[in-house]
């Protein structure tokens, strides 16, 4: 008799108990998968909000720019530079930007803020700038106007049609001064961005900072999240150290930290869930071993090596884990697919809180591999741990005592 078949039949001696135990694992897998999916969906959304809608997945800077953030550490992208970018297959789109700080004044009120010079049409394909127009309209090519983030506009007490005075320092100490009529108010899904600054046409920004044809950064959109590292490596080789190439997580370490922190918190919750289920499985295994004590004694008495008996009981434990994961999967995959395509809108009150903090009041789900893989690993590890119980029990089994049981 094959050990696997033997174990399988043993598993179904007590159909009801096995079914209950497997069901408990299924529920745990299902709950944990949904929770992970929700987390990952939230993280992706967060990364999307800040990364996709602002920094891009990668940026190319002058070698000193990230350290100095100085308007002197800029570069002039030429034909060959763009040709290199075009030759990288996974790059979907790239945009030139001029970013610096400036005093922004209405004459009465003055604030400091970021000024971002963008190519309106091109930028729209990367950060979907026009999507966040709250009031007024978006910039057109070679527009003279300025778009102001909503909180900044509130602080400056300005509205569409007002004119802003910008004062700053330009390239190599040149004085930068200019007048920009307010064309639109921007409202982003992230509170940071809403305090952040103002957008102008890139050519106007280059004039303003006295740096014609030059940019502070080129932001890059890639096909897929997972291509980022490859694209970076390819760019490093192609651009040969003349530029610094940074990925979104290098530029936004706070987001990465926040996500890691949140994951760690969630791990504790899942651990509690799995420990409860783990004790359920252990209980079943303990009963299984106890009620088969005499029978185990007989099989060893008639000549079955303990190792073989241990193997059989080991398989029984693993079977339970596998069945749980299998059916947990079978149920969770369609569920996650449905949730993936149908994000859950938050009801009334909580939605207001979310919106106040600039988040979309919607729960998004994710279907990253880790959502599923982690459950498999956890249940498998748990089964391995629990299987130690029968293994030790059989090792210590005294045949003569077992027969008297």
């Amino acid at each position: 008799m094959n050990n696997l078949v033997f174990a399988w039949r043993n598993l179904w001696r007590n159909k009801r108990r096995t079914t209950i135990t497997v069901t408990a694992i299924v529920v745990a897998v299902l709950m944990s998968t949904c929770m992970s999916s929700m987390q990952e969906g939230m993280y992706s959304k967060m990364i999307d909000n800040v990364v996709k809608f602002y920094s891009g997945y990668l940026q190319i800077h002058h070698n000193n720019y990230w350290e100095s953030k100085s308007i002197n550490d800029v570069y002039k992208p030429d034909e060959t530079f763009y040709a290199q970018l075009d030759s990288v297959r996974d790059i979907v789109h790239y945009v030139p930007r001029v970013e610096s700080f400036s005093l922004i004044s209405t004459g009465e009120n003055t604030k400091g803020g970021a000024i971002i010079g963008v190519d309106p049409e091109s930028e729209d394909r990367l950060s979907e700038l026009s999507r966040w127009i709250h009031k007024g309209e978006c910039l057109k090519q070679d527009d003279d106007g300025i778009l102001v983030a909503v909180n900044l506009a509130k602080n400056l007490k300005i509205d569409i049609g007002d004119t802003l005075i910008l004062l700053s320092q330009g390239y190599h100490g040149a004085t930068a001064a200019g007048l920009f009529p307010v064309k639109g108010i921007l409202k982003f899904p992230s509170p940071d961005l809403n305090n952040f600054g103002a957008y102008v046409d890139i050519r106007k920004a280059q004039d303003f900072f006295s740096m014609p044809g030059m940019v502070t950064s080129t932001a890059i959109l890639v096909n897929n999240y997972s291509d980022v590292v490859n694209v970076k490596n390819e760019l490093v080789t192609k651009l040969q150290n003349s530029y610094s190439i940074m990925t979104w997580d290098e530029m936004q370490p706070e987001i990465v930290q926040m996500i890691e922190g949140d994951r760690a918190g969630a791990v504790i919750m899942k651990a509690v869930l799995y420990i409860v289920v783990g004790f359920g499985i252990l209980g079943t295994i303990i009963m299984m071993v106890a009620e088969r004590k005499r029978e185990s004694g007989i099989t060893v008495a008639i000549g079955m090596q303990k190792r073989k008996l241990q193997t059989v009981m080991f398989y029984e434990t693993l079977y339970m884990g596998f069945l749980g994961v299998f059916f947990g999967f079978l149920l969770s995959v369609p569920l996650i697919l449905i949730l993936l395509n149908n994000p859950i809108p938050l009801p009334g009150e909580s939605s207001e809180v979310y919106e106040k903090f600039g988040f979309e009041p919607v729960i998004y789900f994710g279907a990253q591999a880790r959502v599923f893989v982690n459950q498999v690993i956890t249940v498998f590890a748990m089964s391995l741990l629990i299987s130690l119980y029968p293994i030790i029990k059989i090792r210590n089994l005294k045949v003569a005592n077992a027969l008297r049981a």
Binding site: M1, F6, R9, N10, R13, R294, E295, I298, T299, V300, A301, I302, G303, M304, Q305, K306, R307, K308, V399, A400, L403, R404
Partner: protein, 228 residues
């Protein structure tokens, strides 16, 4: 030919609060082809004796020699193999593995011995017909009566062609008809296959069938009589 040689065997159970001298110097030997009963009052040490002779428990003193091997000296996994090759067991009840059919239970030991399929199959069929259960080959134990289960257990014990079979009260849970039937089968197989049977019992009708009756009391042999 001598199959078992027991010399000055003692067993002291020490694990509980007070110690029990279950066996107090047993000297016995068994020849090939014997059909022997071990009798004695409850607590006299029958089970203890059979367990030690079968290598299921360790003696406190003395030795059990089977086929030139002092089995008390064997390491646990070697001892399991030794049992597999040399000793057949029939216990009082619930001998069979419940998730296996009668056929699989009988073939189980041959499987462990690594016997080829054709040989297993033939031996199983022969034995199942010898115990009169040819038509119940594919039944699980729960579908068999207590007597039928014991007959399958006897078939299983014989399957590996052991040097001898130890049966501790094999009929204790059976009615008189099944008892007689089981004893007849054991006797028949004892003759046909020349397998040595050693069984313990309380039942006078079983004792009557034995060709040798060993009586023990308080862990000592008080009589050893050979009949017929």
């Amino acid at each position: 030919m001598k199959v078992i040689d027991i010399k000055n065997l003692t067993k002291i159970y020490n694990d509980s609060e007070y110690k029990v001298n279950a066996l107090n110097g047993i000297d016995l030997s068994f020849e090939e082809g014997e059909f022997a009963a071990v009798v004695g009052p409850s607590g006299s040490g029958k089970t203890t004796l059979l367990n030690i002779v079968g290598g299921l428990d360790k003696p406190s003193g003395g030795e059990v020699i089977i086929d030139h091997t002092n089995i008390g000296k064997l390491k646990s996994s070697r001892l399991i193999d030794f049992r597999l090759k040399n000793i057949g067991f029939v216990f009082q009840a619930y001998n069979l593995i419940p998730v296996l059919t009668a056929r699989e239970n009988v073939e189980f030991i041959m499987h462990l011995q690594g016997k080829p399929k054709a040989e297993r199959e033939k031996r199983m069929k022969d034995l199942m017909s010898a115990v009169g259960l040819s038509d119940r080959i594919d039944s699980r134990p729960s579908k068999l009566s207590g007597g039928q289960q014991q007959r399958v257990a006897v078939a299983r014990a014989l399957a590996s062609k052991p040097k001898f079979i130890l049966a501790d009260e094999p009929t204790a849970n059976l009615d008189s008809k099944s008892t007689e039937n089981l004893l007849d089968i054991m006797e028949k197989l004892n003759k046909e296959e020349n397998t040595t049977f050693i069984f313990s019992t309380h039942d006078a009708r079983v004792v009557k069938k034995a060709r040798r009756v060993i009586t023990i009391e308080d862990g000592k042999v008080v009589s050893d009589e050979i009949r017929k």
